[in-house]
């Protein structure tokens, strides 16, 4: 049986901790492109530890292809940790800046929509507003759809950033590795998972 059998192709949110060094992002991007995949979104920045960068990456692929990709990313010397958050309890956010037409007839409508989505006005001219809004992908798409009839001039998105819920991030990945590969020390990780607090805030 082929390992790459027919499986659904869906978006996976990967979060990586990498050495904050020259060429690391290029190596990661090269690995993904060498497999013939496109990166849907990418966000990179330094963490609390200035020698470590955090990358959030959204990639489409089948379960087995993504599992293979995660393993290959882990194999890179400068990659410290890779977590596939897709099936974990996690929070995803994206920030968007949108310039919409603000003709006298629809200025009030634009502000009403912005208010519903808790968007901020960050720039205003007699003919346009620039809104800033954060949210998960569903909210962003809905906001854009509602503004579309008013005339959107420009949309700039940061790409998704994501974080696991709960008090610790590391244990989740190891628990997952244990379930998937059967290779990690499952018992130790079960204990850690039990100790992990369960988060109750709604997304």
């Amino acid at each position: 049986m082929s390992a790459n059998g027919s499986q659904s192709n869906r978006a996976h949110t990967l979060t990586l901790q990498v050495e904050n060094r020259l060429g690391v992002l290029a190596r990661i991007a090269g690995l993904i492109s060498a497999k013939g995949y496109n990166i849907d979104s990418l966000s990179v920045a330094e963490t609390l530890d200035p020698t470590v960068s955090q990358i959030t990456m959204v990639v489409h692929g089948t379960e087995s292809a993504i599992e293979q990709t995660v393993k290959q990313l882990n194999r890179l010397v400068d990659v410290i940790k890779v977590i596939d958050l897709t099936d974990e309890d996690h929070v995803e956010r994206e920030m968007v800046l949108i310039r919409v037409n603000a003709e006298p007839a629809n200025r009030a409508e634009a502000l009403r929509i912005a208010d519903i989505f808790r968007a901020k006005v960050v720039d205003v001219t007699p003919r346009a507003y620039v809104f800033e809004v954060t949210g998960d992908q569903g909210k962003i798409e809905a906001f854009i759809e509602l503004l579309r009839p008013l005339g959107i001039q420009e949309v700039v998105r940061t790409g998704t950033v994501a974080i696991a819920r709960g008090s610790k991030a590391v244990t989740r990945r190891e628990a997952r590795a244990a379930r998937r590969g059967g290779e990690a020390k499952a018992a130790a990780e079960r204990d850690e998972r039990a100790a992990d607090e369960v988060s109750v805030l709604p997304s």
Binding site: M1, S2, A3, V18, E19, L22, G23, A26, R27, G30, L31, A34, S64, E67, Q68, K71, Q72, N74, R75, L76, V77, D78, V79, I80, K81, G181, G182, E183, A184, K185
Partner: protein
């Protein structure tokens, strides 16, 4: 103590224990070559940087010590790309130092500038640009550690000219490596090893499929013990030849596209496949949807990305082959079972396949030399001399895999994954540099040899007495075979009948040349080549259109194997297909 970057470089190599490097100097690396004169390291001046990279591979494969390669920027560095890619595909431990233009002009299209860190990123295990001379000892230590540990692979280190010429504080070579993102797991999981042992204990038709990981982990003794413990028929991939003595009664030959019918049949008819350090390459599995349908698969590999990459695996074990086998053998020793008795029916099936489809060819005493016959003769005459065999890529390589029955690990050097024509001769040269007193044989084709034969003069200069046996069919033989079988015999760009006189060529380089045209002349010529000091080229003029069989056509399933030009009879699949 303040030293120049080049001094720090040489001190680091010395501390790392590098005694031999293969390379070629040029503009921006001159400062390092100047300092090199004050250090005892042997530098072998290859005539082309591609050969330097292949020589470093051969040096590693034969000795187990990381091969070192030093070249200049731009064209010097880009010439190593084929060698680095070859090393990446075949898990060869090579560290390649490339010169780079000064940091101030990087990115400005300076003379002989190439973005090498960018260029070889996808064909190296790791690569680094040195930005401060102070960091060089740590970077070199890490380069050698990363290259040889875990699944071995090539590492490139880019050395800008200003870093090499500038002065920096040298505080010694680090003793240990700390890389938080790199920590290969070498010990297999005990639970998984027990599961594997249980599966093997209940197998009726076990089959062992050994791969290159056995060689890289130096696990041949443990592997042989596994074979002897469970008495399962065993095949070894092209990369693993020599890991089990071919005189072993359970050895059934090489698997894959040009493997034996028995090895291939074993792969698809077994009930438990024990994969020890292979990577389920498409040249072995054939059509993936038809592979491993009726068996459970145990896969031991140090690289987690190799596992379940191509085929479904029931019991994956991530770890170093040697260490995992030690534990697995311990578990298997506890099992009370008459292994041979329980496999009687399986042995019967194996014997039927072996009887119906042995490796064979038809040599007429007065006819042209069959390449298989020539290789068998080389084997008969040299087998007791424990030679190192290197090959090029193509028909002669497959025949060498079939007929040169290697008996020890690290005695077989070939380009498997990348299939790099021209690999054999420089790789043999590298192996000879590691073992100056050993017999090193390059079994090559006339097409391959013409790609890297300029290294004959390197062999003469450094007294590296590689013996090259050319299977000269005046064709790009494997391509011609494919054109004959799959392109209606329309030969396109494969005729090499216009070629140099290889005897005169050897002579021109200061090496010895011999030509053999009749089968009867073979033994004497082989003996003479081995007895002649220095590098020798034996031009063996062979049958032009001999085909390499058995053969599984590309993309076909193993069951579609062709032997001696005919499909394998359905009768042999009865009860199994």
């Amino acid at each position: 103590m303040k030293l120049t970057g080049s001094e720090i470089f040489m001190k680091s190599l010395q501390a790392e224990g590098v005694t031999t490097a293969f390379g070629h100097p040029g503009g921006v690396i001159l400062h390092a070559y100047d300092v090199m004169l004050d250090y005892p390291m042997q530098h072998i001046l290859c005539r082309h940087e591609q050969a330097a990279a292949h020589a470093a591979e051969g040096y590693y494969k034969a000795s187990g010590r990381t091969g070192t390669c030093i070249v200049t920027s731009g064209p010097g560095a880009t010439n190593t790309v084929t060698g680095l890619t070859d090393a990446f595909m075949d898990s060869m431990s090579v560290v390649c130092f490339t010169g780079q233009v000064p940091t101030a002009v990087m990115g400005c299209d300076a003379f002989q500038e190439a973005d090498m860190v960018g260029t070889v990123r996808s064909c190296t295990k790791h690569n680094v640009l040195v930005q401060k001379a102070e960091e060089m000892p740590r970077i070199i230590k890490e380069a050698y550690y990363v290259s040889r540990s875990g699944r071995p692979g090539p590492v490139q280190v880019d050395l800008p000219k200003d870093i090499m010429m500038g002065r920096a504080e040298f505080t010694g070579y680090p003793e240990s490596v700390r890389l938080r993102g790199y920590n290969p797991s070498i010990h297999g999981h005990p639970g998984q090893i027990r599961k594997a042992a249980e599966l093997i204990a209940n197998a009726r038709r076990p089959f062992i499929y050994g791969g290159g990981g056995i060689v890289h982990s130096d696990g041949s003794a443990e592997f042989t013990e596994l074979v002897n413990l469970i008495k399962a028929p065993t095949t070894l991939t092209l990369m693993a030849l020599g890991s089990l003595d071919t005189s072993h009664p359970l050895w059934v030959g090489m698997p894959g596209m040009h493997g034996t019918v028995t090895a291939n049949m074993g792969m698809i008819h077994c009930d438990v496949l024990i994969a020890v350090g292979p990577r389920f390459d498409d040249r072995v599995t054939g059509k993936l949807s038809e592979f491993g349908k009726n068996c459970k698969i145990i896969h031991i590999d140090i690289d987690p990305t190799s596992i379940r990459k191509n085929v479904h695996v029931d019991v994956p074990i991530v770890g170093d082959v040697r260490l995992v086998l030690r534990e697995l053998n311990k578990e298997l020793r506890k099992i009370k079972r008459d292994w041979a008795q329980d496999q009687a029916e399986w042995y019967g099936q194996i014997a039927d396949w072996q009887a119906a489809h042995p490796l064979r060819y038809d040599q007429r005493p007065d006819g042209a030399i069959k390449p298989q016959h020539a290789i068998e003769h080389i084997y008969r005459i040299t087998q007791e001399m424990d030679p190192i065999i290197a090959t090029g890529v193509g028909q002669h390589q497959m025949w060498a895999g079939q007929y040169y029955r290697g008996r020890h690990p690290r005695r077989w050097i070939t380009s498997g994954g990348l299939g790099t024509m021209g690999f054999g001769f420089p790789a043999a040269m590298g192996a000879q540099a590691a073992f100056p007193d050993k017999l090193v044989i390059n079994i090559d084709g006339d097409g391959c040899f013409q790609m890297t034969c300029q290294e004959l003069v390197t062999c003469v200069q450094y007294n590296l007495p590689v013996k090259t046996f050319l299977m000269n069919n005046r064709y790009l033989g494997m391509v011609r075979q494919w054109q004959e079988l799959f392109y209606k015999g329309r030969y396109s760009a494969v005729d090499l009948s216009v070629q140099p006189d290889f005897v005169k060529l050897a002579d021109a380089y200061g090496a010895a040349g011999l030509r053999v045209e009749r089968p009867a002349e073979l033994p004497a010529a082989i003996e003479k080549a081995i007895a002649t000091p220095g590098p020798v080229v034996v031009d063996i003029v062979t049958e032009r259109e001999e085909n390499c069989f058995p053969m599984i056509p590309a993309g076909a399933a193993i069951k579609d194997i062709i032997d001696a030009g005919q499909p394998v009879s359905d009768a042999l699949f009865q009860g199994w297909r």
